[in-house]
Each structure stands twice: as structure tokens, then as C-alpha cells.
Symmetry: C2
Subunit: 238 residues, 2 copies
Amino acid sequence: MRILITAGGTAEKIDDVRSITNHSSGRLGQTIAEKFPKEVEIDYITTKQALQPKGDNIKIYLIESTTDLAKKMTELLEKNPYQAVIHSMAVSDFTPESSVTMETLEETISKNPTDLANALKVAADSRTEKKISSNTDHLVIILKQNPKVISIVKKIQPETILVGFKLLVDVPMIELLNVAKASLEKNQADFVLANDLTEISGENHHGYLLNKNGKVKEAKTKSEIAELIIQAVTEETK
Amino acid sequence: MRILITAGGTAEKIDDVRSITNHSSGRLGQTIAEKFPKEVEIDYITTKQALQPKGDNIKIYLIESTTDLAKKMTELLEKNPYQAVIHSMAVSDFTPESSVTMETLEETISKNPTDLANALKVAADSRTEKKISSNTDHLVIILKQNPKVISIVKKIQPETILVGFKLLVDVPMIELLNVAKASLEKNQADFVLANDLTEISGENHHGYLLNKNGKVKEAKTKSEIAELIIQAVTEETK
């Protein structure tokens, strides 16, 4: 059995000295990888900031941005057949497209462009300094939506078991489950682990594992979540 | 002798899951701290992502944001007399004030507000979700300028020797030195270490140490920079 796990959080460059970072310790991915039986071969994609699992059966691949992640996942999925893909990485939904001062924003707006995002990109590109000067009250960063990396998985390997993750912040349980279910369907995932940031603290980690038939299993810790996922993947591959 | 060193890079929260991070390994600060004679007492402010110096004479204080840094520096400067403050931390010039979709930006603009930044803040605050939905092409983050933390130093301890840092990206040497000189004067620093990101790679680190009289000393590695700074501070405190 060979599986692919992603964990940690991506970082998207704003300029040469700044990034937008998605927080994730990588501890849940680490726990999952280390709890799999040692005969399972694991390819593990993460970042240098995240905690890394240890084991002779685990091969680590380091990436930074969402673009790096998409590239590495495509490469690995095209090369190796995986029984399961556990995609726990906190992937940035957006990546910086341009950054301008508030003055440039107002100046650009005053020209009534039909495509404001594009006009701001043109304005930003015409700036010569590589690091924006701090001599302005407000800075405006325009981000564009990233392609959904998770959609790569079933395109390349329709038969693999895909476990997605959905993290929300401080929402009612019913909303969390509904959003997770929609995410499962949209991404053709077989399972989704739904969790809420306000219910995560170190090893304590409240989560719900949903399957395609709407069945839900609950876990209270990272270890329990790892066990639920490993059990689900193992049963599904029998 | 007691000194205060800051190192690493600050992170400014966008929302509960994302931050804007200033990259800095903290290795230069680490090198400086460890090269000081062991009888020098060092208070060292850094982040949990940065490399940390080791030594019985070094006390570590962890912070995240620019606001945390300002608070911790003020507290330490009010409590302890420092012979020198070496401020190598990469401090974020801006902090996120609001984030809106491109649609909200355009809608807000169409109302011709007199203060666009403030109108966007009001629009963002009226949103109920804590994590912005990713169902939008473009996201716009408005950042406001942070107060300059370095200005705290001489206000509280006018007699301390202040070493500032100026990092630019891919500029001619003469521009680098001019910008560093202006920064020294503006911040009432006694020395400024001027460096260019394109000339930093691991231990290789090209830098110029400027003093108030316009004298410049050059270094090629992190160790050499550390030695220049320690020598300058030691001579100045004699």
C-alpha cells in the first residue's frame, strides 16, 4: 500500500521579503503518517516550517507555495499509484497579484477602468522598486484566486481514495457539516474531515469525518482523528 | 554590560488562519548574540520561527506581531538600562486593517467615500463570517502603516547605543548607503547595518556598517558583520 499525505500550510510571496502564510503546525499530518503501519509506503508533502513525521517508510517532499504544491502533487500522482491521498495541507485560496499604495488605487479608480484588478496590476508592474516604500499610510494588496489543488487528485487517479479537510472558524456544528459535505461533493472526495479552529488546541482536536453517504464519525483528539482516517482508508481499500 | 537584541521577522494577522510574514531566519541575530563575550547579559527578542542563540547569558523573549514587539521592547527598556540595542528584527511596515472582495471594493468606491480606507474598514467589519469565503475571483487586503518600533528606543533610553538595520532589494550600492544614512538620522541610530537581499545567502552576507559621522566599514559574512557590530558597540561604551 502506498499513500500520499500533504500537511502544513502554504506561503504565497507578496514580494522578496514578505509572504502570506497559512498557519498550520502540521501536527495532525505528522500524527496520521506516524500512526500508519510501517509497511505502508508514505510520500509526504509539507513545508520546512511544519513538524515532520519520522519513519523509514516516509519520504518527505518540501514545498512553499500553492503553485509548488500543485506541481509536486501532479508529478507524484503521475508517477506512483496511490491507494489513498490524505490532503490535510492548509492551502492558500488566494495568491498576491499586485500591491499598490492607496494613492495609486485612488488614481487608478479615477480612470474608470473596466477591469479594476487588471488596471491595478498594470499600475503595480510599472513601479520600479522591488520592495514597496513604506512612505504611504495605506498599502493595498490584490489577490487572485488560486486553482483548487485538490481537484488534481481524481483527475489523475480517479480510483484513489481521497480524504479532504475543511477548516472553518467559530461556526455552528450544522453549518460546519453542511459546508464539509458540499466540499466533499465538489472535490469528489471520499471522506472529509470537518473541523473548527476554535476547537483545536495542541493534541485536543475536535473533528468529524464525513463519508460520501453522509455518515459522520466524531473524534476529540489528533490521535483519534488519525485513527478514524486510517481505519476509513484501510476498510475502503480492502 | 547588558544589551538588547531583536531578530527574526514579525507576522501580522490577516484573519484567524492567515498572516503576513516578514522572512528572516534570525541567523544574523543569533550569530551576533553568540559572539558577544559571555559576561555580557543579553535580552533577546525573537519569534518562534527564527533560529535562537544559545548561552547562559542569553534570555529569550518570544513575540509574533509588531504590536507585541513594541510592547515587549517598551517593557524591557523601562525596566533595564541597556548599554546597546541591536535591532536586527525584520519588522512589518504595515499591518492588515481590513480585507474585502473586489465586488465590495467596487461597491464601496461607487459611493464616493471621502475616506476610502475607512469606508472599506466599515464594509469589512459589517461582514459576519470570520474567514472570508473563497467564492470570489479577487480579494483585496488593505494594510495600514505600523508605528516605527525603532523610535521607542531613544525615547526611553537616549543614552543607549542604537544599531539599526536597513535591508533593500537589488539596488546600487550608493543608493543603499544613502537610504541607510537617512534611516540612521531619522531614527537617531548610532550605527546602521545596510544590506541587500540579493547579496545574502547562508553565511555569505555582504553588509556595510555606517556610523553617525558617515564612516563605513564593510563585511562579507554574518560572522564579520557580528564582529563589526560588537567592536563598534564595545568601543562606543568604553
